[in-house]
């Protein structure tokens, strides 16, 4: 079998006249001729069919039963045949889920790329979303200028309607004395009346502190410990979320900083799923748009067609 030709002996498939041909291996070979002269009979129905049949024969009987029987092409012998791959034009996919990206597998690699190096954002506000540990949050807060006054808040209710007396009770029970409701800080000793039909945001005030960079090693350590404790408490009480109000002064207005232990937008609380390649697959429920199940389009009644223009003013 050291020959470098594919030898087809006595091919009689369709209209082939018992022909014997040698096809050089590792070469670009063109079969040409008039339409219907037997080109495809030789290339596909003889050479490829036999190559495929031999491959299938090598599978176990169990596997073969699923493939179906392959007929042996009408040929005396074919020598020097390699495993054959056919690239024809008929076997296109008519599945609406197949795209150029999926059939070339490029999309699979793109999914991997986006899952591993993609930067997640909040789908509502577009802000970059990051997962931060308590330690990272503390480090970030310590970067703020000396003398900054901070209020650490644990968010409990985000923009929802209700009176929330139970939430205040819960905050009180947890040992906190203040709460921030819709941006204003109240003492929990007061009676807080909320409009049932308006949206409210409620946070528990966990700690209030001023950033100081002390010269003294001990003092600095103590300050850091307090900050860390408070951040951890707030994260625990706020179920992984933390809001820090930076109080303003003459130069700067007050602002809020948002942090989260989860991969979630701390402001809108939209929790992102773990970013995996399947998140980007429109063929799994993990990634597909829930409205159209990943098809991108929906079949709907079109009012334009329902009331055709021609008789619109009938």
């Amino acid at each position: 079998m050291a020959s470098n030709v594919i030898r087809v002996v006595g091919a009689r498939v369709h209209n082939l006249k018992n022909i014997t041909v040698e096809i050089p291996r590792d070469k670009l070979v063109v079969i040409t001729g008039l339409s219907g002269s037997g080109k495809s009979s030789l290339a596909f129905d003889t050479i490829f069919a036999e190559g495929q049949r031999r491959y299938v024969e090598s599978l176990s009987a169990y596997a073969r039963q699923f493939i179906g029987q392959m007929e042996k092409p009408d040929v005396d012998a074919i020598e020097g045949l390699s495993p054959a791959v056919s690239i024809d034009q008929k076997s296109t996919s008519h599945n609406p889920r197949s795209t150029v990206g999926t059939v070339t597998e490029i999309y699979d690699y793109l999914r991997l790329l986006f899952a591993r190096v993609g930067v997640p954002h909040c789908p509502i506000c577009g802000r970059e979303v990051r997962r931060q540990s308590a330690e990272e949050i503390v480090n970030a807060l310590e970067q703020l200028p000396e003398g900054t006054r901070l209020i650490l808040l644990a968010p409990l209710v985000r923009g929802r309607k209700g009176t929330y007396q139970a939430v205040f009770e819960e905050i009180r029970k947890a040992g906190f004395t203040r709460t921030r409701v819709d941006g204003t800080i109240y003492s929990l000793d007061e009676e807080i009346q909320l409009d049932r039909y308006k949206q409210h945001t409620i946070e528990a005030v966990v700690d209030r502190l001023v950033l100081r960079r002390s010269e003294d090693e001990e003092e600095r350590k103590a300050a850091r410990t307090r900050l860390t404790d408070s951040v951890e408490t707030a994260l625990k009480f706020g179920e992984g979320y933390l809001t820090v109000q930076v109080l303003g002064d003459e130069t700067q207005a007050a602002r809020d900083l948002y942090f989260s232990e989860h991969l979630a937008c701390p402001e809108h609380g939209v929790s992102l799923p773990e970013i995996e390649p399947r998140t980007f697959s429109f063929n799994t429920p993990h990634g597909a748009c829930p409205e159209c199940q990943g098809l991108g389009s929906k079949l709907e009644i079109d009012p334009q067609r329902l009331i055709p223009r021609s008789i619109r003013s009938a």
């Binding site: 070469k27 002269s37 098809l295």
Partner: protein, 657 residues
């Protein structure tokens, strides 16, 4: 509205007995003071919405009278015409109702994801500021540029990200590169695979194979050059040679001259088609083939035989068809003038918008106006000059029938003639057989065991169905008595098994049949069997059967024919014949528009419209229009350049001076 403004069946208007749906509508109209006698356009939108989308929980007293005269009164909310139809579309068990409702539906981008197909969370993940949907919506050449930027020195990625992404980017870059190499850089990754042409899908698979880097494999390809502009053919050939250089055998069935010239080894089969084929006429290097005395391929390759360039281009009938403001897909607000009474060729690289212009816009618009077809045409302002035409016919490559009961003989009407002939035979007269006896589709003459199919389907449960020849008629499709009637020595089953060529001999005394058979032969189908089941015909064969049928009809002289790549699957000798057939149509005063890459066809056109310059977003403009001679003078027209080169290769032909 009372006169039937809402086209859906039950909402159409008052029926004699009233109708449940209509009475509901009247009740809603009464409750919300909607005047059903007014034209729909005068009904305020919010009130129309009540009818279309329902009352959303607001209840309406309904007084319902049945056809039997019984009356009911109840109070309920009205679900609305559109939700009603959508609900019934989902719930109905009847295909008929579903089809009826589907007429009012259209496929629209999903309102939640706007066609992006992914959850908002997935869309919010970006690399270099782009999300995955944006990246897949670019043409491949742009995606490749982006990937190269990510992996290049200007990368926006951080050190850590680079390390992670490095190998992935390399893979993506290689695969995109393969797609560019096979001439598909105009496609986008999110393009649905179902909308690709056969040639595009094949080249994608080719690109995937190149990526697998296997060696020692035998690749068998069927006409990979289909749908490829000569400019992109070079790249395809390089890819094929690349596969070979990896250590694979590449076996290509091909008619394209360039490909044959590039091959290391050529097998020429023939000499004729069908029964006259099946022999090896010549084999060897392209040089050997060219010098071979009897090889038809060699004759065309060496220029001994050639398709002549007409010495004169037709002047046409002076009338024009003008498409104004075509904007469908990538078309750039084109105004295109098409001369009537000429052989017109639309050219341009793949994806430049040829089919969009000719089929989506022109054909669909004309079919709707002239033939009353219910199709939506691609976006355009208007078409002028339609009054010069009375028919438009699209001869495409879609199958002529999906059932094995359809075949070239039935499709062209030839079988009717044959059956009439058989019924006229003395033997039939004696037995009282009428033409219907010789049909395999109706009760009477057919084999009842297989109902005229010739084969039986055996269901294998979880395995694919298998087909076995019918054991009663042995695949002949008719019962014994019918087969006893013979014309010359052939019975009806033998006739179905004949090739067109053979039938021409046998029925040479019958002009009506000869006419139809000759047309089949003229379009290069002399080798097909009359009874070959339609699903087994290739796209090109189906197209040519349709062409033969159109040719057999009486030409009105005002018909517009649109053909998309009729040269597919044709050898140079067949192309030659096809051109003659098309020219005959034009000679009869008709207009023929072909979308073509084959330079032999392009050079024989009277008028060329070249689109480009590239595919996809970079296409959709007119590069040049005019006679082939004029196109060749246009420096920036790829088609013009290749045409010039092509005609220089075959010198001594008018038009090259």
């Amino acid at each position: 509205m009372r006169e039937g403004a809402i086209a859906a069946l039950e909402w159409n208007g008052p029926r004699e007995e009233g109708g449940y749906y209509w009475q509901m509508l009247e009740a809603v109209a009464r409750a919300f003071h909607i005047d059903l006698d007014k034209p729909v356009e005068e009904v305020p939108k919010e009130k129309l919405d009540l009818i279309l989308y329902g009352t959303r929980g607001r209840e309406v007293p309904i007084h319902y009278r049945t056809a039997q005269g019984r009356e009911f009164t109840f109070v309920r909310d009205f679900e609305g015409v559109i939700p009603n139809l959508e609900r019934r579309y989902r719930e109905t068990g009847s295909d008929y109702i579903r089809d009826r409702i589907a007429e009012f539906m259209s496929d629209r981008p999903c309102p939640a994801c706007k066609g992006a197909r992914l959850r908002p969370e997935a869309l919010a993940v970006t690399v270099d500021g782009y999300n995955i949907v944006e990246v897949t919506s670019w043409p491949i050449h742009r995606t490749l540029q982006w990937v190269e930027r990510l992996s290049g020195p200007q990368t926006p990625l951080g050190e850590r990200q680079r390390a992670i992404a490095d190998r992935v980017l390399k893979e993506i870059k290689a695969r995109l590169g393969f797609l560019v190499n096979v001439g598909l850089d105009y496609l986008t990754l999110n393009r649905s695979a179902a909308t690709l042409s056969g040639g595009e899908a094949q080249r994608i698979r080719l690109a995937t194979q190149v990526g697998s880097q296997l060696m020692g494999v035998l690749y068998v390809l069927d006409e990979p050059s289909i749908g490829l502009h000569p400019r992109d053919n070079d790249r395809l050939l390089r890819t094929l040679c690349g596969l070979r250089d990896l250590g694979n055998t590449v076996l290509v069935v091909e008619h394209d001259e360039e490909t044959i010239r590039t091959a290391d080894w050529v097998l020429d089969l023939g000499p004729g088609a069908g029964e006259h084929g099946g022999w090896v006429v010549a084999q060897g290097t392209p040089q050997d083939i060219m010098q071979h005395p009897t090889s038809l391929t060699g004759a065309y390759l060496s220029g001994r035989l050639r398709i002549p360039v007409p010495s004169q281009r037709r002047s046409g009938n002076g009338k024009w068809l003008t498409i104004i403001g075509a904007r469908a897909n990538n078309l750039k607000n084109l105004t295109v003038r098409i001369p009537l009474g000429k052989f017109v060729c639309i050219t341009g690289v793949s994806g430049s918008g040829k089919s969009t212009l000719m089929v989506d816009v022109l054909y669909n618009a004309l079919a709707a106006r002239l033939m009353g077809a219910r199709v939506q045409s691609g976006e355009h302002d208007r078409i002028e000059g339609v009054e010069h035409l009375d028919k438009v016919i699209n001869i495409d490559q879609s199958p002529i029938g999906r059932t094995p009961r359809s075949n070239p003989a039935t499709y062209t009407g030839l079988f009717d003639e044959i059956r009439k002939l058989f019924a006229e035979l003395p033997e039939s007269k004696v037995r009282g057989y009428r033409p219907g006896r010789f049909s395999f589709n109706v009760h009477g003459g057919r084999c009842e065991a297989c109902q005229g199919q010739g084969e039986l389907r055996i269901e294998m449960q979880f395995l694919p169905d298998i087909y076995v020849p019918c054991d009663v008629c042995h695949g002949k499709r008719f019962n014994r008595e019918t087969l006893q009637v013979r014309f010359k020595e052939y019975n009806i089953a033998d006739v179905l098994d004949m090739t067109v060529e053979k039938a021409l001999e046998v029925f040479s005394a019958f002009p009506a049949m000869v006419n139809k058979l000759r047309l089949l032969q003229d379009v290069g189908l002399g080798y097909i069997r009359l009874g070959q089941p339609a699903p087994t015909l290739s796209g090109g064969e189906a197209q040519r059967v349709k062409l033969a049928r159109e040719l057999s009809r009486r030409a009105t002289g005002r018909t517009l024919y649109v053909l998309d790549e009729p040269s597919v699957g044709l050898h140079a000798a067949d192309v030659h014949r096809l051109i003659e057939v098309l020219q005959r149509l034009v000679d009869a005063g008709n207009t023929v528009i072909v979308i073509e890459h084959n330079l032999d066809i392009i050079k024989t056109a009277d008028w060329i419209i070249d689109l480009g310059p590239e595919g996809g977003e970079r296409g959709g403009e007119i590069i040049a229009e005019g006679t082939p001679e004029a196109i060749m003078q246009v420096e920036h027209s790829y088609t013009g350049q290749f045409l010039r080169r092509h005609l220089q290769l075959t010198p001594g032909i008018p038009g090259t001076s």
